[in-house]
């Protein structure tokens, strides 16, 4: 589903050059639930961003669902982000001036000639039901708790029924009870067929996934299958 070959990512500023990722080779199969761990600054977010087509690698090849995106231009990248990938951020990234329902609807707005207004709203409502937030649809983000915000973000990630869900520390800003709730939603989505890659600092969360990839200083230092879950 996701295939990374010889990935390298260098951040250049006028003064310093950071090698954030070095020679990453990673193949993630359809239906897998993979967690990525490593110390702060080791390149986890960078790796996830490359998988989510939110940034371009300095070298190497990215394949998403069999499509090699290296030569892809803005339009094709946007289509893939919109249709195949759902992204969940540590800091939620909700638009504060829009209601919960309007936030969740956004990915559908960028879909060509698709669903009408009412059917988009119906899909958004269903997504919110899946994350248990149907009673907060007309609230605004700043009227919600952190856990509720993250559930809105998950609803937004899944509303377009993408085959891949990428989550960057989805529980990082939440207490453990909330974190567990989010985790069980992700597990349910995975059970329903989504391929999930999740960055986490939390061993107990990682243990609930199929496969654990460890990064250190931009390099992959471990890739283990957690048999108990697979």
């Amino acid at each position: 589903m996701i295939n990374l070959q010889n990935i390298e990512k260098v951040y250049r500023t006028s003064t310093i050059e950071t090698l954030a990722l070095n020679n990453i080779n990673l193949h993630i199969r359809t239906g897998e639930f993979v967690s990525i761990m490593g110390p702060s600054g080791c390149g986890k977010s960078t790796l996830l961003n490359l998988m989510g087509l939110l940034d371009a690698p300095s070298a190497g090849r990215v394949e998403i669902g069999g499509e090699t995106v290296t030569q892809y231009r803005d339009k094709e990248l946007a289509r893939l982000r919109n249709q195949k990938i759902g992204f969940i951020f540590q800091s939620f990234h909700l638009i504060n001036d829009l209601s919960v329902l309007d936030n969740v609807e956004i990915p559908l707005l960028y879909r060509k000639g698709d669903a009408s207004g009412p059917s988009r709203r119906q899909l958004a409502r269903e997504a919110l039901e899946k994350v248990g937030l149907s009673n907060r649809m007309n609230h605004f983000p700043n009227q919600l708790s952190g856990g509720q915000k993250q559930r809105v973000a998950i609803a937004r990630a899944i509303v377009g029924q993408p085959s891949i869900i990428l989550a960057d520390e989805p529980t990082g800003n939440l207490d453990s009870a909330m974190g567990n709730e989010i985790m069980s939603i992700l597990q349910q989505l995975n059970a329903d067929g989504a391929t999930i890659v999740m960055v986490t600092h939390d061993e107990t969360m990682a243990k609930k996934t199929h496969r654990l990839v460890r990064l250190f200083d931009g390099a992959m230092v471990g890739d283990s299958v957690l048999m108990s879950n697979a």
């Binding site: 939110l54 803005d74 919109n82 990234h93």
Partner: protein, 387 residues
Amino acid sequence: MIRHLFKLIWNKKKAHTLLIIEIWASFLVLFGLSSLIVFNVSNYNQPLGFTYENVWAIDLRNNQDTVAVTAKMQTIMQRIRSYAEVESASRMSSNYPFSASTMNNNATHDKATAMAYLFVADGDFAKTLQMPLTAGRWYTPADSIGKFRPVVINQLAKDELFGNEDPLGKVITSGDGQYKVMGVVETFKSKGEFQGDKPTIFEQLNENAPWDKTVLIRVKPGTDAVFEAKLVKDITSMAPEWGAEVTYLTDSRQNQHNLALVPVTIFLIICGFLLINVALGLFGILNVSIARRRGEIGLRRALGATESSISWHFVGEMWVLATFAVVLGLILAGQFPLMNVFDLDTGVYLKAILISVVVVYAIVTLCAVYPSRQAATVQPAVALHEE
């Protein structure tokens, strides 16, 4: 998508108030500016109604000499007409075309009245100034024996006094006298191209009166100052105490133009500055407000927005805001034609409104496209990272 835009704008209405005011003010400045330009252009486009090249005005003054003024004047006219260099000559009141002096009078016909420019001129006036007539004919000396003295009017005077009625042969009242309309000329912009046409009446000159001693002459092309000197010398030898001052109509036209152009130029410069200010101000505000939303732009692109849909999003938002501002502006601008402030044609205001609407949308579009384009070319990860 439009619904989405409206919601976003509605929910941010407080933040947008400043922008709307900014666009509203820009619109009003543009409206004032384009009204003036449209007004001047439409005036300029009206035909002058006569030709002035090779026409000279000779201003005659009898000074202390009160003996046989009319006889001397008639002799001088005869002499002037006899030169080979003179194609045509006409005696008239002192307010010759492009001169600084004006005469006007209230004219009435039935219940209609018009404040009209008044020119007193003899039968050769139209010929000397090559004025085309649209109806009737110019009066001749033979017309002076009728019950009413003859006049020619311009189209505007005809419209105001007669409406759709045929004016030929009808009588108008002007001052103490009554006059019969002999002909109609199209326009007569005696103050130059920049001034709009005004209702105008040409009244037959009384050749036996001692006043109205300005002579217009049309000279052959190439006639120069040598002839001018000779002319003045001849006139003063016929009437030694008199003064004669020759003005070329091309020169007095230039003076009138300079007078008309000074305020227009100053206004254009001020408006140009205002426009630049307004455009820069708008650009600044939009740039900041869009830059502040880089995170949102990154997010939208992460969710599948293309670069161009980001640009359209912001252009759409700004168009909605501009529409609010323009509607508010129109309520104000609409008062000008409705209340007839400044006595301009409604058409002038409508054109001005159209121009300012187009320009406002153009500025707003440019001001939205540029920063949103720039923000959208940043990788989504980078934009989100910055937030």
